[in-house]
């Protein structure tokens, strides 16, 4: 196992606090937990792409970064009034 896989494994531990935040508190707190989990997931995919040494896998992290941004905006918009 090289240093990239070790870093990706270490970042997996960071998803646990995000999950706990998603389970507690008000709707906005949960949304913040989800946004942070999206960022951490993007970093994990970035590290795994480098660990597997395939340039095409980086596209996955790029897609997740863009989609979690769009998803967060939609959630924030609906949390303003309707949920």
């Amino acid at each position: 196992m090289d240093e990239w896989s070790v870093a990706a494994l270490a970042l997996l531990a960071g998803l646990v606090p995000c999950g706990v935040v998603c389970l507690r508190g008000g709707p906005v707190d949960r949304l913040i937990g989800l946004e942070l989990a999206g960022t951490v997931d993007t970093l994990i995919l970035l590290l795994l792409a480098q660990a597997y040494d395939r340039a095409i896998y980086f596209d996955l992290a790029l897609a997740l970064a863009l989609l979690s941004f769009a998803g967060g905006l939609v959630f924030a918009r609906f949390l303003e009034r309707w949920i």
Binding site: E3, W4, A7, A10, L11, A13, G14, L15, V16, P17, C18, V20, V21, G25, G26, P27, V28, D29, L31, I32, G33, E35, L36, T39, V40, T42, L43, L46, L47, A49, Q50, A55, F58, D59, A61, L62, A65, L66, F69, G72, L73, A76, R77, L79, E80, R81
Partner: protein, 110 residues
């Protein structure tokens, strides 16, 4: 161990430690506004450090350029997302997100 490997390792450690600390910070804070502060280091410092590590390892190949692009996307979108979330929190709480009269000069915040 060459200086380049050492730099890659150091950058990876910085990225991972900053991300884990900001996850802990989000968990520990009580308020949504307080929590929101801790999403920023994970989306600014960590991607830049990790992308720099990838570029050091791969040079500016396809992988290196994509890593830089991902870091750029995260750095640019995080402030927008933070603003939208804080705005949603304020509208839920107060009905409007702009500054209210009692929050102007001399008024108590929030």
């Amino acid at each position: 161990m060459s200086p380049r490997e050492l730099a890659v390792g150091a950058l990876l450690v910085v990225g991972v430690v900053v991300t884990l600390l900001s996850c802990l910070g989000v968990l520990v804070m009580r308020d949504a506004y307080d929590r929101l502060h801790y999403t920023t280091p994970a989306a600014v410092v960590a991607p830049v450090a990790i992308a720099a590590a990838v570029v050091l390892e791969e040079r500016l190949s396809a992988a290196g350029i994509k890593a830089v692009l991902i870091a750029l996307v995260l750095v640019l979108t995080n402030p927008v997302l933070g603003h939208a979330t804080a705005r949603a929190a304020r509208i839920r709480e107060l009905g409007q997100w702009t500054i209210r009269d009692e929050e102007r000069e001399g008024g108590s915040p929030r």
